[in-house]
Structures are given as structure tokens and as C-alpha cells.
């Protein structure tokens, strides 16, 4: 059973492709580094050489409320808010 305790938000345009989210995710799960076994896939647009993270929702358990991917993203492309009602997308629109 996946326990959803907050809201993980992807901001595709902020992603710079560093793969820290994948490395942090795999480490949090296994204490090994492996983008392949992380719960994140990096989508890649070769026309613009642009990446964006996608979360495999059946794999992700939000690290029990402190997602390693959001903590590891230096560019703000994955953010986490424990209170799901305070949606960042809405804040930015305002």
C-alpha cells in the first residue's frame, strides 16, 4: 500500500538533465547508485536536448514522506510539499 503524504510536483522546464534525482532515488532505496532501478525515468527530447523527470508511480513511495529526489534536485524540477492542498502550480499561477 502506497502512503501518499504530500504532493510531488514535476516542473519539466527547470530540469537540466543532471540525473541527481535518479541517483538519489536508487540510493534511498538500495544504498547503491543506479538510474536504471530508480523510480524516475528521464524523458529526453533530442530536438532541444531537453530532459524532464517522470515518476513511476507504482514504484515511488515518496520515501515515507521525505522524497530523496526532491531533496537532490538542485534546479527545483522536483518539489515536494507535505500539505497537498498547498499546490505549487496554483501558487505560481497566482
Amino acid at each position: 500500500m502506497i502512503s501518499i503524504e504530500g504532493k510531488l510536483t514535476i516542473w519539466p522546464e527547470r530540469c537540466r538533465g543532471c540525473r541527481s534525482c535518479q541517483l538519489a532515488c536508487s540510493f534511498a532505496r538500495t544504498k547503491e547508485y543506479n538510474p536504471t532501478t530508480s523510480c524516475i525515468v528521464l524523458e529526453r527530447d533530442l530536438d532541444r536536448e531537453k530532459t524532464a523527470p517522470m515518476i513511476k508511480s507504482l514504484c515511488c513511495d515518496l520515501c515515507g514522506g521525505a522524497p530523496a529526489c526532491a531533496a537532490a534536485c538542485s534546479y527545483g524540477a522536483i518539489t515536494y510539499e507535505p500539505d497537498a492542498s498547498d499546490a505549487p502550480l496554483e501558487k505560481e499561477a497566482a
Binding site: 543532471c18 541527481s20 541517483l23 544504498k31 547508485y33 538510474p35 532541444r48 536536448e49 538542485s74
Partner: protein, 645 residues
């Protein structure tokens, strides 16, 4: 893969064979593993005197020991080979290393169980190598041969998957243009001095690397704590916001002083090539793996002849300097030449534009006939563009330029030492000139490194106007002890407030460490990570406790191995000489620019530089007459090889 074992894959393209050797960490630890052990393989197995294009030459590709972990800037691959740049009038070639980051390739190698790839032989027809789980295969290049570096990379990613690492060469590498580069993951160039041409000589178009294995470190919790702490430090850097907005388009305020060719007034250069101009074409900044300070760029040219043209890499600084040298006021025309090289031909922009500058100016001055094989040499963009393509295609005079400075000397009778922007050392032109840059330690390593390029050796001293306290503070982290620090920071009449020769020896050793572990040089350039941080990371990764001093000692061992194999090729102190042009004042519109020490306390003479070189060799324990490692020093470092008599 683990960080406490080391697996080298060997590929013989002639025999179409691949095999591996695996060693426990302690067998490679004295040279740190990574590219350190790559140098050991070169020292043990590359015969002296082979032609760089002969099948016997080796390419050794080394992901850093920390690559694939989440550590700031741990993304680098270091390649070692005998480079095809003709390094002396009598036709010698240096063995050197080059290093670059990336997002997929180096990690892909390690995930596929390959800590190092040694390529030898020559394929009978064009091939690619595929490094995948379970081994390495040699596959036909098919229609990739003849394609540009970027279309080939793109085709391979489309075929292998979005997370496949790719290393490709362009059409210039296929045609053995001696400056040709390789490209990693489309965004990073690797191999000034001609790594791409060595690939071409082996009929090797590309390598793809993709695996699914995990990277394990010896003490995961400790390693992760250190990595997190260092990341927090980088995120708190006050200049980070500016840097991540501009990547390698940042830094114009320093660059316009240090790399000024002195032909235009600075305000004019500012208007034509400055930060505002860069923002007109900059589209996005791309990070290497695990890097919170992204620097790779994507640009799209706005308007003009090349409207809408897109490129990947880092075009701005190089186009600004060569644009001024060639007198091209439209930055888009110069950026187009970078795009053409990065996308298609893969030839080196610096060397090719410097050579074009040299021959066209010499024709203008009547030193050589303007009518040359296939072209009339004049000082205009159409001619430059044509020469650029003729070089990549080895057509007419381009065939001469494709062989570099000493072929130009042999065919046209022009002495490379006369080249006015920075000159030439070991057959390589410079990206900086020591006069506007001043004689800082990076300029020193251009003289003393086997391959005259920075190769990831930056420290704080590569920026202007850092305080002596700041420089001392960074060096204190090297843990060298009071005696060595006293020698480095002893003021002298010939080197100013610190001794560039003695400092540079340790700076080079630290570069060897960074390259072996795979850490990007931007972090020591900006004083964000220090040698003792590297020691903490390395210790937790490999399960052996080492100090910064010990790391640098092992770096010194690698420096000595690198020197030793070049001694076998006939290099001596005579090859480490500063170009004559450094001692001629540059007559810039703002006034004379002369070569000075870091703090501009005096104009340096040839004799001053000779004394600085003396101190460099002395600090290394090398013979000051020959510049060769002494047997005593090699013995004290535990290096078994001896200096050839």
C-alpha cells in the same frame, strides 16, 4: 560495479577480440585507479615510438572512480592516447590525457561493468563499439560513417535508448585531421590535439555505453553524508544563481581582460561579443551528471545568414577571441563555425581558426603567395569559411592545415613561433595568451604538461586578483606541511609573491587526482571543493583511509608516469620553453600589454621564466637540465620504470 574493484576491458580491433582483467582496489590504489591506472597501462604496454595512427597506438578511456555516484561534478571521463599533433619540427608526438564530463557515457560504461576501456588495433572496415551488460561488441558502423558527429550521436541514442551514452567523431576525424575531437553525449567535446583522428585511424566511428548495473561504494552512509554536505556547500555559493543562468556563457567580465588579443578597443569587443550578445542566442543550459553548476549550452542563432541554426557545446569564449583575431564583427558568423565543427566535422575550432589567421595574415603581409592550392588567401569571412571546410575535408591547402603548425612550416616556410596570439608549444596553439592573462600557474602547466592544454588543472589562481590569503587557503587544504608551503609562498624577484613553478607542480598533481576520481575542475576553480574533501570522498568510496597529502602523493606518481612515457618519446626541457612572442609587448588600443607576474609587480623576462621552470623541476625532484624524472625520485615514489638513457 564497486569502487573497490577495477575492471579493464581490452578491445583489439584488428583481431576483433575483447577481454577483461579485474583487480582488487589495492592493486591499483597507488595510482588511485581511474585514469591513474590508465597511465600505468600506457607505461607498461604502449611501445615507444609508434606512430599515433598506427594500429599499435592505444586509446584508454577512463571514467573516474566516483563516476556514477551522486557527488557534485563527478561525471568525468579521461582519455589517454598518443596524440597525432605533430609536436616538434623533427616529428615527435606526445602521449597525453584529456578530460571531459557528460551525462550518460561514463556512467553507462561503469553500469555495464567497464571501469576502463583500452582500444588497440585497427578495424578492417568502419565500426562502432557497444559497451553493454555482459560485454563489448564490435559492430559495423554502416551509414554512420560519413555522418557528422552530432547526427551520428543522435542516431545512436535513437537506436539504443534515451539513456544511452555516446561518444562520436565527426567527418574530420574520419579524414585524420590532426586536431579532430570526440564528442560525448552531444554536449561535451573531448580530445584537443586529435583524439578524434586516432579514432578515425582505427576506423572507429563511435562508442555507445549503456548498462543496468549498480555502482556501490564501500561505506554508503558515510559517503552519502559527505556528498550531501558538499552539495549543500555548492548550493550556498553566492554566485550560483548567475552561473546556472548562463553556464559557460558566464565570466565575460574576467574573460575580456584575460583573453584579449589586443586588436580592438575593449568597449568594441564588449559590444560585439559581450554578455548581452551571448544572451541573444543562448537558449538553455545543460548539466553534466550529478552537477548542480550546469555549464553546457544550447544556442539558436537569431537572424542573419544562419538564422535558426542550433548548436550544442560552448561557443562564446572561443568565438570571441577568434572573432577578434580574424576581424569578424558579426558574432553569429563565428558561432556558426563552432556549430559546424560540433555538429559535423568535429575539427578543433581553436587550432583551425588560429591557423587560418596565421596563413591569411602572412599572405596579406606578402610573406607567402596569396594564391595557394585551391584558394586565394584574403582576410574575409568567405575565405575563412572555405579554409575551415577545406581543412575538414583535407582539400588543397586544407590538407596542409589539417596536419597542423609544423606541416605549415614545412610546406609554406612559416615559423609557428612567429604566431602572434600566444604562440605554439609542442605543436599546440594556446587558448589564452600569457600577456593579457599574466603568468599564472595554468600558463605554466601549458608548458610543463606533456599535452599543452589545461586538462582540468584549474585552481583559484586561474582567476585574476585573488588575494594571497585566498590562494594560500586553498593550498592549505593540500596538507603539504610548513616546509613545502614555505617554499611555495616564498616571495622571489622572478615569480612575485608566490612561486608559480613550485605551486604548479602540486596543482598538476591535484589535476591527476581530479581526473582519476572524475571530479570536474570547476569546483577547484571556484574554490568550492578542496583536496581534503576529495580525500573524504575517496576514502568512503574505496574503503581505504587516505589524507589529502596522500592523494596528492599518488597524483604525483601519475604525473611522473605521464612524464616518463614522454621521455621515452624524446621530450626534454627544450620542449617546455615559453614561446618567444610572450616576451614581445602586445600593442593594444589601451596600451602595451606585457607578460607580468600574477600580482603585476614586474614584467617577466625569459630568464625569470627559466628560473621558474628550474623551481618546477626542483620541486618535482627532476633533473633541471633535461627536465627528466630522476631515478632517485622514481624509486622514492615506488615507480619501477627507469628513465631511458
Amino acid at each position: 560495479m564497486t569502487t573497490w574493484t577495477d575492471r579493464t576491458w581490452f578491445v583489439d580491433l584488428t583481431r576483433r577480440d575483447a577481454w577483461y582483467e579485474e583487480r582488487p582496489h589495492h592493486e591499483v590504489a597507488d595510482v588511485l585507479g581511474g585514469s591513474g591506472f590508465g597511465w600505468q597501462i600506457i607505461a607498461d604496454r604502449l611501445p615507444a615510438g609508434v606512430d599515433p595512427f598506427a594500429p599499435e597506438n592505444m586509446i584508454v578511456l577512463n571514467p573516474g572512480v566516483l563516476v556514477g555516484t551522486r557527488t557534485v561534478g563527478a561525471s568525468k571521463l579521461t582519455a589517454i592516447t598518443k596524440f597525432p599533433t605533430v609536436a616538434s619540427p623533427d616529428g615527435r608526438f606526445y602521449i597525453g590525457s584529456c578530460t571531459s564530463g557528460g551525462r550518460y557515457f561514463a556512467i553507462g560504461m561503469r553500469q555495464a561493468g567497464c571501469d576502463r576501456l583500452v582500444i588497440q588495433g585497427k578495424a578492417s572496415e568502419p565500426v562502432i563499439l557497444a559497451v553493454r551488460d555482459g560485454g563489448i561488441s564490435i559492430e559495423p558502423a554502416g551509414d554512420l560513417w560519413g555522418q557528422g558527429a552530432d547526427p551520428a550521436a543522435r542516431a545512436l541514442v535513437e537506436r539504443e535508448g534515451a539513456d544511452a551514452g555516446v561518444l562520436t567523431i565527426g567527418t574530420g576525424g574520419e579524414k585524420l585531421v590532426r586536431s579532430a575531437l570526440t564528442f560525448i553525449d552531444r554536449t561535451n567535446s573531448l580530445g584537443r590535439g586529435g583524439l578524434g583522428a586516432v579514432f578515425g585511424s582505427k576506423n572507429l566511428k563511435a562508442i555507445v555505453a549503456r548498462g543496468s548495473g549498480s555502482i556501490r561504494v564501500a561505506d554508503p552512509d558515510r559517503y552519502n553524508r559527505v556528498a550531501n554536505e558538499l552539495c549543500e556547500r555548492v548550493l550556498a555559493w553566492p554566485r550560483r544563481e548567475h552561473w546556472i543562468k548562463l553556464g559557460l556563457a558566464a565570466g565575460w567580465s574576467t574573460f575580456k581582460h584575460t583573453q584579449n588579443p589586443g586588436m580592438w578597443p575593449k568597449e568594441r569587443w564588449d559590444q560585439l561579443y559581450g554578455e548581452e550578445k551571448r544572451l541573444e542566442s543562448l537558449q538553455s543550459v545543460i548539466a553534466c551528471a550529478s552537477c548542480p553548476l550546469n555549464c553546457r549550452l544550447r544556442w539558436v542563432l537569431p537572424g542573419g545568414e544562419f538564422d535558426g541554426e542550433q548548436g550544442l557545446g560552448s561557443p562564446y569564449s572561443k568565438s570571441a577571441t577568434s572573432g577578434q583575431l580574424l576581424g569578424i564583427e558579426d558574432d553569429r558568423k563565428m558561432i556558426h563555425l563552432v556549430t559546424e565543427a560540433n555538429t559535423t566535422t568535429g575539427i578543433d575550432f581553436y587550432t583551425t581558426t588560429r591557423l587560418i589567421d596565421f596563413v591569411t595574415r602572412m599572405a596579406e603581409d606578402g610573406r607567402i603567395p596569396a594564391e595557394q592550392d585551391g584558394i586565394t588567401l584574403s582576410r574575409d569571412y568567405v575565405t575563412y569559411q572555405r579554409l575551415y571546410r577545406m581543412t575538414a575535408d583535407r582539400e588543397g591547402l586544407g590538407d596542409v592545415l589539417a596536419d597542423g603548425w609544423y606541416r605549415v612550416q614545412a610546406e609554406l616556410g612559416l615559423d609557428p613561433s612567429e604566431y602572434w596570439y600566444a604562440g605554439v608549444v609542442k605543436g599546440v596553439d594556446f587558448i589564452y595568451d600569457a600577456r593579457p592573462s599574466r603568468f599564472h600557474p595554468l600558463m605554466m602547466t601549458f608548458l610543463t604538461r606533456p599535452r599543452p592544454h589545461h586538462g582540468g588543472s584549474h585552481t583559484r589562481t586561474n582567476s585574476r586578483n585573488k588575494t594571497l590569503e585566498e590562494i594560500k587557503d586553498q593550498a592549505a587544504h593540500w596538507e603539504l606541511g610548513d616546509e613545502v608551503m614555505g617554499r611555495i609562498f616564498q616571495e622571489t624577484s622572478y615569480s612575485g609573491k608566490f612561486n608559480v613553478g613550485r605551486y604548479s607542480a602540486y596543482m598538476e598533481d591535484l589535476m591527476r587526482v581530479k581526473n582519476a576520481i572524475g571530479l570536474c575542475t570547476i569546483y577547484t576553480y571556484q574554490a568550492l571543493l578542496f583536496a581534503d574533501d576529495m580525500a573524504r570522498l575517496y576514502s568512503a568510496a574505496v574503503g581505504e583511509t587516505v589524507t589529502a597529502r596522500e592523494l596528492i602523493r599518488r597524483g604525483e606518481r601519475i604525473s611522473n608516469l605521464a612524464k616518463l612515457v614522454n621521455v621515452r618519446e624524446g621530450f626534454t626541457r627544450a620542449d617546455d620553453q615559453p614561446p618567444a612572442v610572450w616576451f614581445r609587448p602586445m600593442d593594444a588600443p589601451e596600451g602595451r600589454i606585457e607578460i607580468e607576474d600574477y600580482y603585476q609587480t614586474k614584467v617577466l623576462t625569459r630568464d625569470d621564466l627559466a628560473r621558474i621552470l628550474d623551481d618546477y623541476y626542483d620541486e618535482r625532484g627532476w633533473d633541471p637540465e633535461t627536465g627528466h624524472p630522476t631515478d632517485e625520485r622514481l624509486r622514492s615514489l615506488g615507480i619501477r620504470a627507469t628513465v631511458p638513457s
